[in-house]
Amino acid sequence: MKKLIAEIQTQDLLIETVELEDPSLEKLIEMIRHKSKTEDEIFIFEKDKEEELASIEGRGAISIVVHRCKKITVQVNFEHRTETHTFSPSATVYRVLTWAIGKKGFNLDDTARAKANLIVPGEETPLPRDAAIGNYVTDKHCGLTLELTLRDFTNG
């Protein structure tokens, strides 16, 4: 019988792995809603995808991000400029970084791109690039402010 293994990251950032026998999208969503233990509206995404989860056809393994926001407005500061773009909460830090250093962001040159990282203002370590940006949203308005930095994070 076909089986789906799903890693589900819930709104409280807990990660749980579940297995579904004879899986369907409806079964998976029902399980996620049950585990989320909230009456509030939630949105379900595959990791690093912009659209809400609409199909699990042909899938045997999937990483899921559950979030109260459908979209996150990401504001990135760099030097004296600010650029803004919306992403899904499941977008990875790397996807945001790629936008920020690219032509539609701050259009950095090759050398600067190689050094670039995103950081939460006031923090001392760059964000892990494979993390979902929804993890860092703390305000009620589905907004996130980050800094683009070329800092060398050498420890010592």
Partner: protein, 168 residues
């Protein structure tokens, strides 16, 4: 598969290539296993510049003896030719991709592998792992961590190529 004679390194390795995140990366087409014959793992990583529609693939060879400590040795590879290909030319690659895949040695004359803090030999080169703890391998990591880092490198190269194909 008879796993009664597997050592702890192989048991850990086999469990790590069955995690949801590793398998999801395979299903998403971000990487594929070309051959898994412990301690050797051969993978192909595919990175895209979605805007410029550029696809780059790069093979890598991982050696996971003693896994998870030390972390995997990783080198650029050509699976079809069964050898390590020449290092990328600085004129034909992004600075990060070229630097990571360059030819270097830790001093013994043997190829040092991917030049990044998470790679077995590079991690101890100039105490790189201590200097970059956020990028360093440790026992709490799993193989998907390495695959994500390799994926970033290949996407970076795809975007670099995509830039040069797009009008300014």
């Amino acid at each position: 598969m008879d796993n009664t004679n597997w050592g702890p390194d192989r048991k850990t390795y086999e469990s790590h290539i069955q995690t949801v995140r590793f398998l999801a990366g395979v299903e998403e087409g971000r990487w594929s296993i070309l051959k898994s014959e412990f301690p050797d793992l051969y993978v192909r990583v595919a990175g895209r510049d979605e805007e410029a529609e550029v696809l780059v693939t790069q093979d890598f060879h991982l050696v996971c003896d003693g896994y998870p400590l030390p972390g995997p040795f990783v080198e650029r590879w050509d699976f079809k030719s069964e050898c390590r290909p020449p290092a990328p030319d600085a004129n034909n690659g992004s600075p990060g991709f070229v630097d990571a895949l360059k030819e270097w040695s830790e001093g013994s004359g043997i190829h040092g592998g991917i030049y990044r803090a998470w790679q077995r030999h590079a991690s101890v080169h100039n105490a790189w792992a201590q200097k970059y703890p956020d990028q360093a391998w440790h026992q709490g990591r799993d193989l998907t961590f390495v695959m994500e880092k390799l994926y970033e490198l290949v996407v970076e190269q795809a975007i670099w190529l995509g830039y040069r194909r797009q009008p300014a």
